[in-house]
Structure formats: C-alpha cells, structure tokens
C-alpha cells in the first residue's frame, strides 16, 4: 500500500533515519553549507510555526525542505495536494489523526517497556494489533465518505487505493490471528535478597506437586479479590482486576521464558505499523503547511502559490514579498517588497543600516526554499526559476571552534560552497568579506562574484562595501539590478544606485554625549 502524497511515483524518502532513543528525532546528516542556510535564513522559526510545538512536524518539514524536487512539474504536484488540504483542512487533519492515534496507542501500550517486560510486549502487541484494525477501519470510512471532495491527482489515487486494499476479507484475516495470540501459564520462581532487599537470582523452578493441582492448593476458590489471605506456610495475594501495572509486573517475573513468543507477536504488529508510519510521514508536511497558513491568516499576511520556472530560465519577480521569519517572530504584519528582477543574474542591495536589507535577503531565500518544496510563498504574487541549490554566505561571529581567524573562516565557508555549487544555483551573500579592510574585501568579493556569474550562478549580495557595489554598478550590466534600503521609506527597498555613507561621527556623538 503506497501513500504517494509527496511524489507522484515514489515514497517520501527520509534523509537519514529516526533516532533510536527517545525523543525519536528524525535527524539527517547536514552539510556545513546546509547548516549555514538553516541558521542564516532563521529556518527554525518557520519550521517552528509549521510544527506548532510538534517535533515530528518540525522534522518532516525540514526533511521536505532539504529534499525538494527540482522540476516545476513535481512542485506543482505538491501544490495541487496542498490546495486540496487548504480546501478541506478538517478532513485532512482527521486523516492525520489516524496514524497518530495508532502510534500513540503503540507507545502507551508497549514500546516504552520493550526492554523490560516480555509479558508486556506480548499482551500489548496483541492490543496494538487490535487497535490497528480499528484505525484502518476509520481510514476506510473516510475514504468512502469524502473522496469526492478531493481533486488533486495525489489524493484521488490515495483514496482509490484505500478502498481497494482494505476489504472486509482482509479485516477478518487479521482478527483471526489475534485470537491465537493468547498465553496463560503458571510458574514457580525462586529468589534471594540482594542489595536493597531486591530479589535476585531468579530461577524458574519445576514444582514438586502434581501438574495442575498445585495451583488449586495454593489459591483456594474462596479467596476474595484484592485481599490477601494468609495460608501457612504461604502468603498469597490476588490482584485487583483493574491493576494493570500489577499484572505487567507479575508478567515480568512470570514470563522470563515467554520472551520468544513475545518476539513473534511484536513482529506481526510491525507490518501494519509501517503503513501508518509512512502515512504519517507524508501527511506531516501538509499539516505543517496548514498550520503555517492558518498562522499567517491570523496575522493578516497574504500567501500565494508561486509560479515555478525551469532552472535554466532567469525569473524573479514578486509583489508584497515579506520575510516570513520576521513576521512570525514579531507576530505582526510587515511591509512587503515589490521587485521585478526577471532576466537578472545579480542583485546587489546596499543602503542604510536598519533599512531592512537582511530581512529582504532572508525573504528571498525563504521564498525560494518554500516554493521549491511545494509550499505557498509569503507574498502577494511570486514567480522565480527553480535553483539547483541555494547557498548562504553570511558574516559570522568569531568561530567558536577556534580553528581559524574570522576572515579565513569566511573564505573557508566560501570554498565549501564552491565545492558543492553547480550552475543555476543561487548564493545569498550578507556582508561577506568585510572581516578584512574595505579595499581588500571588495577585491576578493569582486573576483568571486564575477566568476559565479560567468558560471550561471545567481547572486544576491547585501553589502556596505561601497567599492564593491559601485564597481559593478559602473559596469552598467544588463543582467544586474541594484536595490537600496532607505530608512525614510519604512524598510521598503527601492531600485537605486549605491551611495557612500558614513554614520560613525553622528552615532558617537549621540551615544557618548
């Protein structure tokens, strides 16, 4: 049974595997350039809102962002599924609850005590299989009821598959197996007192009485439930019927020998379990998108489904593009930007400190990532070509690992980017190469940018290196656009040439006097 909601023709493949230890994060090896992207674009803020405190949603959104498809068609497949989700949020969330419940039942039931109580594994494995049948029946019901409301290729195929695979015969077969998996036995175990008076040296013993009779002799039929009766030289106790923990504990002592049986039951449960896992994995991304869209709607910010163009083209035009990370952090509406950079390879952003340059750069990066994994974008309208990789090169704090000086560290990160970069990628520079003096920083940056452009790499560069910005401006390149931040214009960027500015003297006077 295939879910296929993320890709038309394959499972959503995880990068890396689930951690074996609680809290079970889905981590994957992340390259240093990817780590930089997460940090520079404040990606965790976006992921955090998609997750709404749910680490699993967080991990899945992150997985999706780092395994984006690179064709406009694949992006549109997801956009169609997502549009269905936005149209039927309640139904989609209901479907998502099915694997969640199954997994919660499983955790509550037995996985948490997996390594300690074999009797618990056995009875809970049976319980879990029973639960699984209930969840599967729910899924079938939703498919029968609501399939008509969905239009996307992805959802139509999914519902058809459910109706075909989950027949009554299938349910009957599973339930038959559940009846067999019961186990009753009585045992005799010897022990001594170890440290802390805890029992130790448990040994399963063969009773000296005749088979079957000894239990009756020890537990006369008149014993009242929940009360302990003394019968010399024995002390006996009957558990209250609702004392589940007690039953499990007894099981632990009792069934040191049923380890193997428990093993078989657990493996049977796994088969159904894996289907729920995949369903949960593939829906998690869309649930994250629903959360995000709802949050942005609350804040009154627009969203738009972007128009992706092939990687070989140069498109980048938008209206009302805002920094979604900033909006989600500040929890209020911010001013969006309008830019038409179609046909441009180089975007240089200069201007006043606090003028919204970094925010703008981040909005470019986040919109690109969101578009490429199939999410809507934070804008009124947006179209851009797909990028074969997005990289950020931001100025950093002193390197905490101390392997290099600041400038060397910048060059080191740049070199790592060059190692991974391909034509039609995009690089976002934020105040890069300013750790040395202005003249040298500009020269190094100029050489790097020139080489990247000639290799068909798209570049957006925020800089206060006047020499760098004006150098490119004076060349009057057709494929370059120059934007300037201007505090008077409330964080909105305008298309304008770089200016040489100096605020130092004013600032000193203002703060020191």
């Amino acid at each position: 049974m295939k879910v296929f909601l993320m890709h038309p023709d394959r499972d959503f493949k995880l990068l890396g595997e689930r951690e074996q230890r609680f809290p079970y994060r889905y981590v994957f090896p992340i390259s240093t350039t990817q780590a930089a992207l997460v940090q520079d674009l404040e990606l965790d803020t976006l992921l955090g809102v998609m997750a709404q405190g749910d680490e699993f949603l967080f991990d899945m959104a992150k997985q999706a962002i780092f395994s984006s498809p690179d064709s406009p068609e694949a992006i549109c497949y997801r956009q169609a599924v997502l549009k269905d989700c936005l149209k039927n949020p309640a139904i989609v969330r209901e479907i998502y609850r099915i694997p969640i419940e199954a997994i919660e039942n499983k955790r509550g039931g037995w996985l948490s005590i997996l390594s300690r109580y074999p009797s618990g594994i056995l009875s809970s494995a049976v319980q879990m299989l029973e639960m699984s049948v209930i969840q599967l029946r729910k899924l079938k019901h939703i498919a029968d009821e609501y399939a008509e409301k969905f239009e996307s290729e992805g959802f139509r195929r999914f519902f058809a598959m459910i109706q075909q695979e989950l027949t009554d015969e299938y349910f009957a077969e599973v339930e038959e197996h559940l009846k067999i998996l019961k186990f009753k036995h009585g045992v005799l175990v010897s022990a001594e007192l170890g440290n802390g008076n805890e029992g130790r040296n448990y040994v399963l013993r063969k009773t000296n009485y005749d088979n079957g009779n000894w239990i009756k002799r020890l537990f006369p039929g008149t014993a009242r439930q929940g009360r302990c009766a003394k019968k010399s030289p024995h002390y006996s106790c009957t558990l209250h019927p609702r004392d589940d923990a007690g039953a499990r504990a007894l099981g632990e002592l009792k069934d040191r020998g049923v380890n193997l049986v428990a093993n078989a039951a657990g493996q049977s449960a796994d088969h159904i379990d894996s289907f729920f896992n995949i369903l949960r994995l593939e829906l998690a991304f869309y649930i994250g998108c629903l959360n995000l869209s709802e949050r942005l709607a609350e804040l009154g910010e627009p969203i738009a489904f972007p128009d992706p163009a092939p990687a070989s083209e140069r498109q980048h035009s938008f209206t009302g593009l805002y920094d979604v990370a900033l909006v989600l952090t500040m929890k209020k509406k911010v001013m969006g930007n309008n830019v038409n950079a179609d046909g441009k390879d180089l975007m240089i952003i200069t201007g006043a400190n606090q003028g919204g340059k970094s925010t703008f750069l981040r909005s470019i990066g986040l919109a690109q990532l969101m578009m490429q994994c199939g999410i809507f974008v934070p804008a009124e309208s947006f179209s851009a070509n797909v990028c074969m990789g997005l990289f950020t090169h931001y100025k950093r704090e002193e390197d905490a690992t101390m392997t290099s000086g600041k400038f060397d560290e910048e060059l080191d990160r740049m070199s790592a980017i060059i190692d991974h970069i391909k034509p039609d990628a995009m690089v976002l520079f934020n105040e890069s190469f300013a750790a040395t003096n202005e003249r040298e920083g500009s020269e190094i940056a100029r050489q790097i940018v020139r080489a990247l452009l000639e290799k068909r790499v798209k570049v957006c560069y925020v800089t206060h290196l006047y020499e760098l910005a004006s150098g490119f401006y004076n060349q009057q390149m057709e494929n370059a656009i120059f934007l300037r931040a201007d505090r008077q214009r409330s964080f909105r960027l305008i298309e304008a040439q770089p200016l040489q500015t100096s605020f130092g003297a004013d600032l000193y006077t203002k703060i020191f006097n």
């Binding site: 045992v187 005799l188 000296n208 060397d408 020139r450």
Partner: protein
C-alpha cells in the same frame, strides 16, 4: 587548627556566583569550564569557577592545596573516596523515590555500609602521604577525630550485623495470572529449560527483534514490594533488626565531610583537566598575583584552544607578553588568521584563572588582580535585535566604559570591522582615547595600524608570517611596530577562491 573549608581560609569566605561572568563566552572560558566540569556535573562545580577572588591570601591558600593534590598518591585516595560518596548519594537519592518500606531500608543500609568503607579508606590514605597545605593538614586532623568517634564506630558495627542476617534469606514465588504466593524455598529443580523447548516453534528468522534484555536495574514494582512484605513475614527476625538500625541512624553523613567532598572537586577537576594539556608538552605555573600592572607571562597559550587540540597532532603555539610602566594597552595587528584573537583571549583567560587560585598556562607569570574583565567581541546579527549593528557596537562599548574602573581589564577584538573604513578609524581613535584616560589594562585587536602608536601607553604587537611564504602563519605574536601588510589576497589564493580558480572549480 580548626578545619573550615578546603576552598577558603577562614577569613575570606565568598558567596558562590550563580551565573557565568558575561565575558566567558568571548574568552572561550565557557568551553574551558565546560570541559573541566564535564564529568563532574553532580557536584555543581561551575559556581566555584564563576567566582573570582578579590583576596590574594585565599589565592595562595588554594595554591597550597593544589600543590598537595598534585601528588599522585593523595589524588588517588581523594578520587577513590569521591567515587564511593557518589554511589552513597545515588543510593540515598533513590531511596527518596521508593515506596516499599523494606526496599527503602535495604538501600539505606547499603549506603551506610559504603559510607563507612569510604571514611576508613580516606583516613588510611591521608595517613600515607606527607601533607603540606594548611587546608589538608587541618582536614586530616578532622577526619581522624571523626572516624574514631563513638558515633561513627557504632554506625559501622551495627550495619554489618544487619546485612549478614538478610543475606541468608531464600524464598520462592508462585505466580498465576492475577495472583501469586510466597513461601520459603524448598529445593525445587530448574524449570526454564523445559519451558524454552515448549516455545521453540514460535521462533522466526525476521530482522526486527523483540527479545527482551532481562537484565534488570535497581527498582521494585508494587508486586515485588508485596513479595518482599511476605518474605519479611516468613523471616521476621532479620527485618526487625533492619527497622531498628534505620530508626537509630537516619542522618549519617557528616556535614563537614559532605561539604569537603564537593569543594575538593574544584581542584581535582582542574588538575585532571590540565594533565591532558600538559601531556602535549605545555607548561603551567603558579603565578604571582597582585596589584602590580607590570604583568608578564612566558610561554602562555589559549587553554580552550589547547584543550580542543589535545586529541590531535597539532602543536599549540605559545606566546610571551610583558608590560612595563607606563604601558597599559597591547595593540595587536597583522595578518588575519595569525593568532591575534587567540592572543587576546589568552591574556583574559590567564588573568581570570589566576583570580580563582588556579595554576595558569605558562612557565612563569605575574598577573594583575582585577576587579572586572570586559570583553567586546563581534556579535552576530540577531533578528530580534533590530537596532543597527554599528549602533549596537557603539552602545555596548559605551556601556563597558561607563562601568569599567582603573582596576578593570578590557579585551577589544576587531570592533567596527563591519562598518566603513572611515567610520572604523574615527570611532576606534575616539574610544581608545577614553581607554587611555581610564588607565586600565587592555588588549586591542584591530586592523587599523595607526592605533598601535597613539601614545606611550600603547604597545604594538604583530602576528607574524613565514618570510619565505606569506600565506604561512607562525601564530607567534611579537613586539614590533605594525607593518601595514595585510595578507587577504594570499589567503584567498590558499583557499582557491580567486576568479581564475573558481572558474576552474565549478563544473556542470
């Protein structure tokens, strides 16, 4: 001689800091202290390392104790003692979470037995070494008196007697679904082999295993507790003895011993930590500490860096510095990635470590007993802080200058590197003038050469390169005039980031 504390001679007791000093991160002292305390979390040692002393006598008191502990035999005894007390505390911590009466008492008994053993061994150990420090001599006297006290002796004898009674108990549990029974063990034979054979046919060759590891940690559920209750009914005598024992000895750990056990770890942790660093051929010394501003340190190094390199083959480069009156400000210039920041950190770290009474990196040192260290290192842009970066920098420096005194130490690292050159020069000069007026000790790392010769208070030090290969740094910082050379382009070439190199590197 009355024993007071292994960290403080009596007069100078100082309250533990509750937060790490603000400059810790910039100086990478957080990494140092993290590494020192990494394996000692339960002692909560960080407050000791966060609390600089203002009193020279206490610093020397600690030096003495530290020197005694450098003897291997004493160190081994102290560590053995500490390990036992860790377990004692673990048992007692566990007891608080337990419900079953005889289970609790059982663990209390174990902890008493172990505590007694720890004290006997400690006393024996202290007797075997020649102690010199005021701290240890007084402590030895204290332990001798305590172990021979009647309180301790009674505790020990009774514990051993009770334990021996419980060890002889042997019983059986008979279990069916929902009920069980306990009786004395009557010699029945081992049954597990037969049971295993019955379930052989359920075995399957599948990858996911649900076989349980039946090794059981400490702990007891209510069924086991009930069983223990029944066992106590079957064997009343040894359990009555246990009840009596615990009633008589509820608080058995001596307060002074408890405090010592934590405080001594301040030294143990530090010595353990520097032992690994010394292994790389690096020196530590006990510095002179005081009010003289003519400070020096020979063959000093960044302890955080040295620690990070301990497991590698890489060599740690040592540097010297000294200041002679009227010199106050070391201005460090020179090629990037030449060890300038490391040098600045080292200066701050040495002074800080001296102030908590620890040996410091270097062969020989005299260091200044400061009132406060202020460090200004560049900060990353923060989405939550929408003030402009430059304004933020100026404001932070202003804040430092308001609070700093003549007795403070200032570490300025590459400030204003992200503004225009014009602004950087103007602001740096204005601020350095203020630092000179303050007359405080300062290390100032910058790319602006002219700062190094502003007045008689400034000393120029430069990070150096190999003359034959300018891209090779020596990481030596030496006294000489700033030479205005910057090596950025040679560095770019080393990273294969020139125009030509990048063109060759990017392939479809």
């Amino acid at each position: 001689m009355t024993f007071h504390s292994i960290l403080f001679d009596k007069r100078s007791f100082q309250k533990e800091a509750t937060e790490q000093p603000v400059f810790f991160t910039d100086l990478n002292l957080d990494q140092v202290i993290d590494a020192i305390t990494a394996h000692k979390q339960e002692y909560n040692l960080k407050p000791f390392y966060w609390t600089p002393l203002r009193d020279v006598e206490t610093i020397y008191y600690r030096h003495e104790v530290m020197r005694d502990l450098e003897g291997e035999t004493l160190m081994a005894h102290i560590k053995a003692f500490a390990e036992k007390l860790v377990i004692v505390r673990r048992y007692l911590g566990m007891v608080e979470k337990l419900d079953s009466h005889y289970h609790k008492l059982g663990w209390i008994l174990e902890s008493v037995l172990l505590y007694c053993e720890a004290m006997n061994h400690l006393l024996q150990g202290l007797g075997q070494v020649e102690l010199r420090s005021r701290g240890f001599l007084a402590f030895h006297e204290y332990v001798t008196a305590y172990v021979h006290s009647r309180t301790f002796q009674v505790l020990q004898k009774e514990a051993q007697k009770v334990k021996s009674g419980l060890s002889n108990v042997k019983y059986s549990v008979i279990i069916q679904d929902g009920r069980f029974s306990v009786r004395k063990y009557e010699g029945e034979t081992d049954y597990s082999v037969e049971v295993l054979q019955v379930f052989e046919k359920f075995k399957q060759g599948t990858p996911n295993s649900y076989l349980s590891d039946l090794h059981k940690g400490s702990g007891m559920n209510h069924i086991e507790a009930k069983i223990l209750e029944f066992v106590a009914l079957l064997y009343p005598k040894p359990f009555a003895a246990l009840d009596q024992f615990c009633a008589n000895h509820s608080q058995f750990i001596d307060d002074t011993i408890r405090i010592f056990d934590r405080e001594i770890q301040f030294y143990v942790a530090y010595l353990d930590f520097i032992a690994d660093v010394k292994y790389k051929g690096l020196n530590f010394c006990y510095p002179q500490v005081g009010a003289s501003r003519e400070v020096y340190d020979y063959d000093g190094f960044d302890l955080a860096l040295a620690q990070a390199l301990t497991l590698t083959e890489k060599r740690v480069v040592c540097n010297d510095f000294y200041l002679k009156d009227p010199e106050r400000i070391i201005v460090v210039t020179g090629p990037n990635q030449g060890g300038k920041t490391t040098f600045a950190r080292t200066f701050g770290q040495l002074h800080y470590l001296a102030s908590i009474g620890c040996p410091v990196p270097g062969r020989e040192a005299r260091l200044f007993l400061f009132d406060q260290i202020y460090a200004h290192f560049e900060r990353q842009e923060d989405i939550r802080n929408l003030r402009g970066k430059l304004e933020d920098d100026v404001a932070r420096i202003h804040d430092i200058l308001i609070h700093a005194s003549t007795d403070s130490i200032l570490i300025m690292n590459e400030i204003f590197a992200s503004t225009t050159l014009q602004d950087a020069v103007l602001l740096s000069k204005a601020i350095m003038t203020r630092v000179m007026e303050l007359d405080a000790l300062c290390v100032w790392v910058t790319f602006i050469d002219e700062l190094s010769s502003l007045s008689e208070k400034t000393v120029s030090m430069v990070s150096t390169v190999l003359p034959e290969n300018p891209a090779m740094r020596t990481f030596k910082i030496i006294r000489k005039p700033a030479d205005g050379l910057a090596y950025a382009l040679s560095l770019a070439e080393k990273h294969r980031l020139t125009y030509k190199q990048i063109k060759e590197r990017i392939q479809p």
